[in-house]
Symmetry: C2
Subunit: 494 residues, 2 copies
């Protein structure tokens, strides 16, 4: 049986020998109290050095899989608590089955039903995909990330690897508070919680604001970020959507709804709205804030991609517009701007509120990865952010303009929106159903995201789609949009 | 005002100049359309090179804080959407207040109430603290962690920094599946989800198994891990505790309870029980599994610190005892064994169950830090784990024996338990209240964890305490326990 041993070149051989023998014991190929080949024999059998075998045998004894009898050799220890089945009690009730499906609650079932990833569009190799709005990893400045890690490890490696604080990594919090202050935020009476990206921050806030007794009521832009819709539904909120205008949410309709119904919270993405890419005008921002405060509705502001706007003067976020008011919870993240792999986001809001959210965060995950937080902090501190964002903006803007030009050329019937970020949003004449369009395009090797999933009600936005261009080559942008155009025309002919 | 500029030595000066000027604009010290000093003037004012100023001004324009008029200079852009207050609308309802306290639901309120960290024992500097069971960071092999990071970044840096999978980092999953197989687990029909440590894994499992309509019913060892008690309560479970015997949970009482009441799940820590440090005997493991399966109760197995047992043969976990059965959800983590800062844990269980948990994980945090996962994977793959654990075991065992000896010398009335890990659990004669004892010891500069928080019912275990020795020096272990002993004697005299 020892002939089966194959080892990989780039791993310590002693470890591999140890695991190989462990395996034989587990599988029952080596029985309890059976003597192992001597280290000399084994080194011959496996064609590895004798010291390697000695090290491996020591490891096996450490883990309690073997015992040594001085002067005699190494023996297999009895496998206690081993599988009831291996013990020949195949019918043993210890090997019983649980019907997990019947144990899953509504939350778990909905989590699966609302999991877009599991209804993801399957496309064959070579397909041109406009579905992703993840950043283009070719732009990543890996050298600076490595340096940030090494810098931080050199300064306080031991601290980074031991427990951190639920609230977050202090230097990063200080940096981001300053960063938000530079967006015009009055930080007095406010505090910050670091989370594992926007999503965790949003989910934690919802879990604290969800009414205990009844279903919650949330108001938001329509369409809006589909992950936000998912989390609102999962937390038991009924969602009321307010249509978008070219300069942001329709304020008249917003006020009309506020007069008729009360809400537990509002979710808004004013600075770079997903999926439409619309930026809420400064005037609307203060109007919206006044409305929300008059009706006493907490506002969750999604800072989504405001760093990736391509033009125009700095527009202060809602939480800045609110001045000393405490009515806005701002959730920020650099996931789309920098590196999604670093799961770091931040929740900025009322001091007392944050203090409560810290306890929820601790109960859920203790704290966010200190390594991620410290890499991000050092990367920012080293001044890489501005350089990187400048580079990214330039490249994405170029792709954005290319995509826009192609759409204008090949999709003249589509109304475009978006002035930044990593995608464009298209609205077709109501005749066109983008799910059918997608079916046709898949045949031609092109996929995109049908827009209806960003809308609150079933059947809304069936004539819309989102084109993510961040990870598509220029060549494929041209070819892909041309193909979509061809399909659209054939639809219109019908 | 430019005289106030001070810069730190280790940061790009251009960034610092940019943020300094941004600040002046935000604060209103520089007004809209006001001309900035020329780059030459500014370099003189701030005593930095002119190129630095040029770079800083470009940055300001990129962020929309200034605009340039060719041939004339740089001007402050209007701060649109700026704080209502700064705009002199101090009474503006945009600056409104939300009474967050009244908005918090039961979950949020309980999260704060059950947050031990917030009722942590405040002790003055120089106090000898036995409260922590975090690893001793002096043992951390930082060099190997650095190498693991650099190795992985070199292989697939761009992949690590972009989005990963909710299920986890594939190489790590494969490694850990193999690792669990080597503990005797039959992995057929099973799958794995990577989580941000044990806590997230546990909380996700509970959120899926918590009954929708009624309060849940959970059964567990008494005492048990206080974080687990917290999460069970937060998820709305009523908890039934079963007393511990020297070889694990009291099986007779367990069966008696199972006959009278039905439960949604059991939470067990067989391999290194927290806080008692008791290891469940192999015989009890199969008895317990048979009972649980007969009564169809899903078992959540906490693999807590089984790697840090100091003696005895390998004991297969419950999930191995269950053979091909799917009734056990095993949650593992190396947090206490390796580095708590790497927030990585794993949930091993029935394939379909895991598939559901993956959707919940995605809804909560998208995925666990890929950097953390990849560092852990490469660290394990490089074969550092065995060496490190061997070193850690040796050092902790030494401290364990010292602590034990000191307890036997100075606390003869206390019954000790624990044969591994990073702490000892002490039970005193019922006369002694460990909260009062703690009060007395704080005076003498020694603190520990009163044991009652590990018990299910109020008022249980008031005569117990947990001594964590992992981060206490030999000197302080001796002195600290001597001091506790003195206080105990004075209590017994009374």
């Amino acid at each position: 049986m020892f002939q089966d041993f194959k080892f990989v070149s780039d791993r310590p051989v002693a470890i591999q020998v140890k695991e190989f023998v462990k395996r034989l014991i587990i599988k029952g190929a080596l029985q309890a109290d059976q003597k192992l080949p001597s280290t000399r024999e084994m080194s011959g059998l496996l064609k590895v050095s004798r010291n390697t075998v000695i090290a491996a045998y020591e490891g096996l004894e450490d883990d309690g899989f073997t015992y040594a009898i001085p002067g005699k050799g190494n023996y297999v220890a009895a496998m206690v608590g081993q599988s009831a089945v291996d013990n020949g009690e195949a019918d043993s009730s210890a090997a019983g089955q649980i019907d997990w499906k019947s144990r899953m609650n509504e939350y778990a079932v909905s989590a699966v039903e609302l999991d877009m990833m599991k209804q993801g569009i399957r496309a064959k190799k070579g397909t041109i995909s406009f579905t992703s709005i993840a950043p283009d990893e070719q732009l990543f400045d890996l050298g600076n990330v490595r340096r940030a890690f090494m810098d931080r490890m050199a300064i306080e490696g031991q601290v980074l690897l031991n427990y951190g604080y639920a609230k977050g990594y202090k230097p990063l919090i200080d940096y981001l508070m300053h960063y938000m202050e530079n967006k015009g935020v009055d930080i007095s009476g406010k505090d910050m919680l670091i989370t594992s990206g926007f999503t965790e921050g949003f989910d934690i806030v919802l879990s604290a604001l969800r009414p205990s007794a009844r279903r919650g009521a949330a108001i938001c832009e329509n369409p809006t970020h589909h992950t936000a819709i998912k989390n609102l539904k999962l937390q038991g909120f009924e969602i009321t959507g307010i249509p978008m205008e070219h300069d942001g949410i329709d304020v008249k309709q917003l006020e009309a709804v506020l007069q008729t119904k009360s809400f537990d919270l509002a979710y808004l993405t004013p600075s770079y709205h997903n999926p439409t890419g619309i930026v809420m005008s400064p005037k609307k921002r203060s109007t919206v804030m006044k409305l929300m405060m008059r009706y006493q509705i907490p506002v969750i502001e999604d800072g989504f991609n405001e760093e990736l706007r391509y033009s125009g003067a700095h527009v202060a976020p809602l939480i800045a517009t609110a001045g000393q008011g405490n009515g806005v919870i701002y959730i920020g993240s650099f996931s789309k701007v920098l590196f999604p792999g670093l799961r770091v986001g931040w929740v900025l809001g009322d001091q007392e509120l944050i203090d409560t959210l810290v306890s929820i965060k601790r109960a859920r995950t203790i704290h966010t990865s200190t390594i991620d937080q410290s890499i991000l902090y050092q990367y920012l501190f080293n001044g890489n952010f501005d350089k990187y964002v400048k580079k990214a903006r330039t490249e994405y803007k170029r792709k954005y303009e290319l995509t826009k030009a192609c759409c204008e050329a090949h999709l003249p019937d589509a109304q475009l929106s978006g002035d930044g970020g990593l995608h464009l949003f298209l609205t077709f004449p109501t005749g066109i159903n983008t799910h059918q369009l997608l079916e046709a395009c898949i045949e031609q090797g092109v996929i995109f995201t049908p827009g209806d999933r960003f809308f609150i009600q079933e059947g809304e936005g069936t004539n819309t789609l989102r084109l993510g261009f961040s990870r598509v080559t220029d060549e494929n942008i041209k070819r892909g949009i041309q193909i979509i155009g061809k399909q659209v025309r054939s639809f219109l002919k019908v």
